[in-house]
Amino acid sequence: MQKRQWIHGWLLVLPAMVFLLLFTHVPALTTIWNSFFSTPRGRRPSRFVGLDNYDRLFDDPVFWKVLGNNLWFALGTIPVSIALAIVMALFVNRAFTGRSLVRMAYFTPTVLPLIAVANIWLFFYTPGFGLIDQLLGAMGFGQTNLLGSPDTALAAIMAVTIWKEAGFFMIFYLAALQSIPPQLTEAARIEGADGWTIFRRVTFPLLMPTTLFVSINAVINSFRLVDHIFILTNGGPDNASSLLLFYIYETSFRYWDTAYGATLTVVMLALLCLLAIGQFFFFDRKVHYK
């Protein structure tokens, strides 16, 4: 009986495990392995090069630039989209006329492909013809070039990301808000607490598990969301708006330097693991589990 349980269990998980191992775990390990080899070129096969790829990494100004960009991207998009998500959830968690329309408006960007979203935003940003310039022009201001100048390109990308993500995160906060017993806020109100105090002392702490979940998602997304860069800036000008995954793509599939691409991926994997662990411990002390 015990043995049959074993065999059945293994048979049931086997198909899923094969594909998981084949396309997630094995590639993650071969990424590390291949980062110690050179890229095969023409008739020259790849050979063991030790830490050469990592030496190159440390001396690669583009890598540091892109890593810095990704850091700013994360710092800029995560807190803002989470704050907006909470505001949105609080807004639509009350009854008023047009509530479902407003909720729909917040959520719609989530169902649009990021690549399509980028096309739409390109209209806003284009110098001269774009909506932003047309409006500024009508008010008597000169032309802008938000995507074309190194100072603003990343911020322009971030704005699109925030617009896309906030409504998605709102859903989770909305679900969490609906599970908070109304007696708690009621009690605080009777005690004479004002709206802000209730939010700060009652609602927000109860939302902490959601914030943990959402922020882990947001961190993963800050590494993963690069589709719009292809349309809006192509990483430019001068890598000002390039992110780590975009650089991995460029290195591996435009210059076909797959060994260096693997090395960059190792950095990404390490960062993801560190951040996930760090976040877990950081929040663990602050999260109030029900």
């Binding site: 074993w6 899923a16 084949l22 993650a28 407003v102 169902v111 399509a116 209209f123 991926t265």
Partner: protein
């Protein structure tokens, strides 16, 4: 809350909603009007479907739609089958290595195939599948998220139902099909919507493994169409953009409640 506070919050909510929907409304405006009205917002601007017709004629969108449709269907079926089997084992079977395997499943929530593009491309090349729809689907059909979600649902199914079916002589797969799957229908709907919208929108991996009209999904098709410098008008690109997001957007508007609840359900678990 005073009446003024309430009024303030409501107007804030509506203003933010308008701001959020504005880009989409603007895209719709340019797509249904002639190019001259791109930035002239007058009520008597003539409506036209020319932009859609031009976009449809300028690139093989019909083929792209067929590809995307095949892709999301294949992924959905694959995910449902593989994740159901694995989730059942993790929820109800005791076997050596179960916890280690489950940890490996959860690891995929962090290390997604999306970021392992270099090695996954090599794998697909080794399998000789470059430029096929199968290649786009393969890395995603075993989904850690799906296994986790279904396991959580299956664990809430009363063990007595399982035992009763077993006493009546039903086999493992029959029990799974007749007892567990029907009870998990809302989870399947939720997961299905999340999966379809995710893979409809996916771009980077399909961009890497496809290079022909016969395999490209709409997202890649759209980027090829809108980045070729052949003087295509904004309004036509916008029409194409709306077209590619159209089916998903319409489905979303029709099933808004289910969509929102699905994403919630998928998130809470």
């Amino acid at each position: 809350m005073t009446r003024f506070d309430r009024w303030l919050a409501n107007s804030g909510a509506i203003l933010l909603g308008l701001l959020w929907i504005l880009p989409l409304l603007y895209a719709i405006w340019t797509a249904v009007h002639p190019a001259e009205y791109e930035a002239r917002f007058v009520l008597d601007a003539p409506l036209t479907l020319d932009n859609f017709a031009k976009a449809w004629a300028a690139a093989p969108f019909a083929r792209y739609f067929l590809n995307t449709f095949t892709l999301v269907t294949a992924i959905l079926i694959g995910q449902f089958v593989l994740c159901t089997l694995a989730a059942y084992a993790f929820a109800r079977y005791r076997f050596a290595g179960r916890d280690v395997l489950f940890a490996l499943v959860l690891l995929q929530l962090l290390v997604m195939p999306d970021i392992l593009i270099v090695e996954n491309y090599k794998m697909i090349r080794t399998l000789g599948l470059v430029d096929t729809i199968t290649a786009i689907a393969l890395p995603y059909i075993a989904s850690g998220f799906g296994v986790f979600l279904l396991r959580q649902t299956f664990m809430t199914v009363p063990q007595e139902l399982d035992d009763a079916a077993r006493i009546e002589g039903a086999g493992t797969l029959a029990i799974l099909w007749r007892v567990y799957v029907p009870l998990a229908k809302p989870t399947y709907l939720a997961y299905g919507l999340v999966s379809v919208s995710h893979h409809w929108n996916n771009f980077l991996w399909p961009l890497i493994v496809t290079n022909s009209v016969e395999t490209r999904p709409v997202t890649v098709g759209l980027s090829v169409f809108s980045t070729t410098d052949s003087g295509i008008e904004w309004s036509v690109i916008n029409a194409a953009t709306l077209m590619t997001s159209g089916p998903l957007l319409i489905a979303f508007l029709l099933f808004q409640r289910q969509f929102v609840q699905s994403f919630m359900r998928a998130g809470i678990k």
